[in-house]
């Protein structure tokens, strides 16, 4: 499947992600904090879904669980038809390698590598030959408008540019699922807007399921669906006007 090939999401499509009665608690010393309890949720394929809520509401934990980075205490997570809760850590790594991309608040780029190398690096582990990895990396960097700066290292890039490289790194794998955690909170307004536009476009043109955790109000205008959380529960679940789909 190519990233260039648009996969239109249809409302009838089976959910890309489904959580069934998931629970998660963290224990620190003698204190046990129940972060999520009996939460169920379906995320449709090819949509940009935004999860917002006050800090400590459990939205990041939910993202970690849905993306296979964290185990649940109870319940089940189905991603692209696979039961993540039944996979061991090796199988989870393989699943993430094939199907998921991540964008974090901090850009987490290797200081020693230039933009092209940052993006090509994970592709090698995917088993792509050097040449193909390079081509794909160039393609992804082009998509985020970074072609003129592919030979620069993170130290020579602005915050917004670094985040665009980080997105290109996630995108180059052609993931079906893209997870983003506060991708704009470290950026100024203009750069934040660019990142939002890119994420929106990815969901639109690639049919990628984008799940984004953020409390950036600008993102809400671009999301297909907005979930707001508090105390480990989903308070509201709103869909955008169809008008936005055509935007």
């Amino acid at each position: 499947m190519s990233a260039r090939e648009p996969r239109r999401a249809t409302p009838e499509a089976s959910p890309a992600l489904r959580a069934e009665g998931i629970a998660k608690a963290f224990v620190s010393g003698k204190v046990r904090t129940q972060v999520l309890e009996g939460l169920s949720l379906s995320i449709d394929a090819g949509e940009l879904t935004l999860i917002s809520g006050p800090s400590g509401c459990g939205k990041s934990t939910l993202l970690a669980i849905l993306s296979g980075l964290q185990k649940v205490d109870a319940g089940r997570v189905l991603a692209l038809g696979s039961d993540l809760t039944a996979l061991d850590s090796h199988a989870l790594e393989r699943f993430r390698l094939r199907h998921t991309g991540f964008v974090f608040q901090g850009f987490n780029l290797f200081p020693a590598l230039n933009a092209l190398e940052q993006v090509a690096l994970p592709l090698h582990y995917l088993g792509l030959p050097d040449r193909q990895a390079q081509e794909r990396a160039m393609q992804s960097l082009d998509e985020v408008g970074m072609t003129p700066r592919i030979h620069l290292r993170p130290g020579e890039l602005s915050g917004g540019e670094k985040q665009r490289v980080a997105i290109a790194r996630a995108l180059a794998k052609h993931p079906e699922l893209l997870f983003a955690d506060e991708p704009t909170s470290a950026l100024d307004a203009a750069n934040g807007q660019i990142i939002i536009d890119i994420l929106h476009r990815i969901a639109r043109s690639h049919g990628t399921t984008v799940l984004c955790v953020s409390h950036d109000p600008r993102l809400t205008h671009h999301a297909d669906r907005m979930l707001s959380m508090e105390d480990g529960r989903i308070l509201s679940d709103r869909r955008a006007e169809p008008l936005h789909h055509e935007a």
């Binding site: 980075l69 993430r96 020693a112 794998k173």
Partner: protein, 377 residues
């Protein structure tokens, strides 16, 4: 493939420098220590390695050249009868007491009585023909450059050995002795210096040259233990040299000291290297965690750390080699006994690389911090 390990090493060289220096200095210390010990103890076998005999015949159970005892000269008759033997040459070892003419204090000297002819076997490699020819004159001796100061003489001076007057006619190079001072003289002079009248006609060793040097092992076996000539034994030059070095290395405890020091050096090097590498890994923990989130397995990340350790080891070794060669050259020019063999150099290099590898394995623990879920908190 993006060379993450190498590029990070180059880009963040300051961070890795302590590890490179630690491996380098550990390697250098081990190399120099080995060179010094080998150099010092190889002087125990200089009598053998500086000569061209194929076989050495001496008193049974002799563990080092300097511990020889007189043997029956008739053994030579038996040796000569073997068709493989080309030539036999006696060698006298006399322990002496050196006194300078100006009343300077006594010094223990090893008097080695050699055949001074140009084609003599003893010290044929250590003494040029012109120098040994000077020993033809009675009561003349050659001392080593390294001992000139200790003996307080120069060429032309006289001194007394075991009460008999001798004259210094030359200075040798590279004949430093272990635990004493080498004084080279002719067989005739050495016999005059013997304090035990019974052993005047009894050489300490017989040096044997064969027609075919490659048959040394077989001939040595064949000549060993014939009855009727009193006690004697036959060794190949190789065996006897090795025997002498091992005696000093093992019986003086120096070998154990070397191993102990090597262990300490290894340990200290490994602690510094692993801590530095671990700090470097921890410094990139978020980037590693991101790669892991993207599905790059922990096993692959561990390889990156090991590769970094490998490069740290290789760079450290490179520095150690350059510095080591310079220091060894400096030591040689100052008559400090140093010697290195290819196997020992290889062992030192392997030790340094395994130090880096062990440190890499320890530093992998730094990847525990690279938990991708922690990036979401």
């Amino acid at each position: 493939m993006v060379a993450l390990a190498r590029k990070t090493l180059i880009h963040e060289w300051r961070r890795f420098l302590p590890a490179i220096l630690a491996v380098g200095f550990a390697g250098l210390l081990q190399l120099l220590q080995a060179a010094l010990v080998l150099g010092i103890f190889s002087s125990a076998s200089i009598y053998v390695t500086g000569s061209t005999a194929d076989l050495w015949v001496g008193y049974p159970g002799t563990r080092s050249v300097s511990l020889g005892q007189p043997i029956n000269p008739d053994v030579g008759m038996h040796l000569r009868m073997d068709p493989a033997v080309a030539r036999i040459e006696p060698f006298y070892w006399v322990d002496g007491n050196w006194r300078g003419v100006h009343g300077s204090g006594g010094e223990l000297v090893y008097v080695t009585g050699i055949d001074p002819r140009p084609d003599g076997l003893m010290f044929s490699r250590a003494l040029p023909a012109s120098l040994r020819a000077r020993l033809v004159e009675p009561d003349t001796v050659i001392v080593d450059r390294a001992d000139v100061g200790k003996l307080g003489v120069k060429v032309g001076d006289t001194a007394a050995i075991n009460g008999r007057r001798v004259r210094v006619v030359g200075v040798s190079h590279g004949l430093r002795a272990l635990g004493g001072v080498n004084v080279v003289t002719s067989i005739d002079t050495a016999r005059q210096l013997t304090t035990d009248p019974a052993s005047v006609d009894h050489p300490t060793y017989l040096l044997v040259q064969l027609h075919e040097g490659s048959q040394a092992d077989a001939v040595a076996r064949r000549l060993r233990g014939a009855p009727g000539f009193g006690p004697y034994d036959v060794w190949t030059a190789r065996q006897f040299a090795r025997r002498s070095v091992l005696y000093w290395l093992l019986d003086t405890g120096a070998g154990a000291g070397v191993v102990f020091m090597a262990g300490i050096v290894f340990l200290v090097g490994a602690v510094i290297t692993s801590q530095t590498l671990m700090a470097a890994v921890a410094g990139s923990a978020r980037e590693y965690a991101t790669l892991n989130a993207l599905g790059v397995g922990l096993r692959n990340l561990r390889w990156v750390v090991l590769e970094q350790a490998f490069w740290v080891g290789a760079l450290g070794l490179l520095g150690a080699t350059v510095l080591g060669l310079l220091l060894l050259a400096g030591a040689r020019s100052q008559d400090v006994p140093v010697a290195l063999t290819a196997p020992i150099t290889l062992v030192c290099m392997l030790l340094a690389m395994s130090l880096a590898a062990v440190s890499g394995l320890v530093a992998m623990r730094g990847l525990r911090r690279a938990d991708p879920a922690s990036l979401l908190r």
